[in-house]
């Protein structure tokens, strides 16, 4: 009975000792397309999967994502030197972007996992820490990151980014929960007001259509503000919506910065 108790105590002690590294970011929250981020691993008290301490060891990261494995993994028995974590102290290690691997540079997590064309396909990132050989390794662990999230707004454009020659749709969402001016909810007819920031006198006003969800109207900025477009000064448009029957009732104002078009 004594032996059994001792065994249980011993196993419990082992379980208590087994601890995973604590992963944090700098900045604290980052997405897979953010550049110049740092991922920090605090290994104070952390152990490999056999209970060996990670503190002070030469650590390499072997990582994988839902979109593919890290391009700096190399082979399991011949890990890429670019996968070596920077040792800040015996307990603090760092993976710092951009990561240079010979002629290749990975500026973001999306690039590291070969998903720069579709970063939204990265829904999870796993990793383990190990030494070069490897003679030890941790269990499979997780690197947290902020997912992409579409944020609805009272007023916005579609697309969110556009050139001067794109069709730009301006939208007002009357049902937005945080609407800035509740009086707009009662508006029966809604007009869009758009003005270039360089010349408010060129402002235009267009009656919107209701598509079942949004009050919206579209323009091609290069067409609507042809003079500025031809002069090469068409860039930022400021816009808001107002109650056609009572123009003093207005929505929030936003702006869109247009890019020059190459084609």
């Amino acid at each position: 009975m004594k032996k059994l108790l001792l065994t249980i105590l011993f196993l419990s002690a082992l379980l208590v000792q087994a601890q995973n590294p604590v992963v944090t970011g700098n900045p604290a929250s980052y997405t897979v397309i953010d550049e110049n981020i740092e991922i920090l691993f605090n290994v104070a008290g952390a152990t490999d999967r056999d209970g060996g301490s990670l503190e002070g060891k030469d650590l390499y990261i072997w990582s994988f994502s839902s979109a593919g494995d890290s391009k700096t993994n190399g082979d399991w028995t011949n890990i890429n030197p670019a996968a070596r974590l920077e040792k800040l102290s015996d307990t603090e290690y760092r993976l710092k972007f951009p990561i240079t691997d010979g002629a290749n540079t990975y500026r973001t997590l999306a690039e590291l996992y070969g998903a720069e064309a579709a970063p939204g396909s990265i829904t999870s990132i796993g990793y383990l820490l190990r030494d070069q050989a490897p003679t030890f390794q941790t269990n499979d662990l997780t690197i947290p990151f902020a997912p992409f999230k579409f944020i609805e707004n009272e007023v916005r454009t579609f697309p969110s980014q556009a050139t001067t020659k794109d069709v730009v749709l301006f939208r007002f969402n009357k049902n937005f929960s945080g609407i800035s001016n509740p009086a707009m909810i009662g508006a029966q007819n809604i007009t869009l007001h758009v003005a270039p920031d360089v010349d408010a006198l060129l402002a235009i006003e267009i009656e919107t259509n209701f598509n079942g969800q949004y009050y919206e109207a579209a323009i091609i900025p290069a067409e609507t503000f042809q003079g500025l477009f031809n002069a090469g000064t068409l860039s930022t448009l400021e816009y808001y919506f107002f109650d056609t029957d009572n123009p003093t009732i207005q929505s929030a104002q936003e702006e869109i910065i247009l890019r020059p078009a190459a084609n």
Partner: protein
Amino acid sequence: MKTLKYSLLLSIAFIFMQCSPDNEGTHGDIVDRNEQLTGTWSIENVSQIDLDAEKKGFPDFATRVDITNAISGMPFTDFTLQINNGTLSTTIGNSPMSYVISEGSGTWKWISDDTVNLVNQQLGINASSGIETEINGNSVLFLIRTYAGITGDNPKLSLNYERLDASGSAVTRYEYILAKQ
């Protein structure tokens, strides 16, 4: 024994001679994309895709919008494209297509190996294929991501156009569905 051997050899040679290609059937006929593109096409529908939203995997309503009649007085349906063998002409009307392609007559050519890679065409492996048009010195690239619908009673041509910013990054994609007149 010798006679038997020669007979066997002759028989085998005869069998192989019978394995010549069958040119009489219609199954597996080569698709002539030039012919399929020939005709007068009018825009029926236009979708605009926010490429940043698409990259981030945002929901469909935040990624794609039907803009066929989005601009008052400027319906995309005004646009007509007449394609002949190597030449083409456009009619813009009031459509916003003047910000994509010039009005008038010009030439067009394939921008991939479609004309020679007939096997791929038959299998529909033309993901990066398309046409380059040139009117009055202005060239425009249209991608053809699918040939689905180009045959049948009511043929449809699917052309995609990507708008680039000054740094060469694609900002938006326009998906035009044109109906044969």
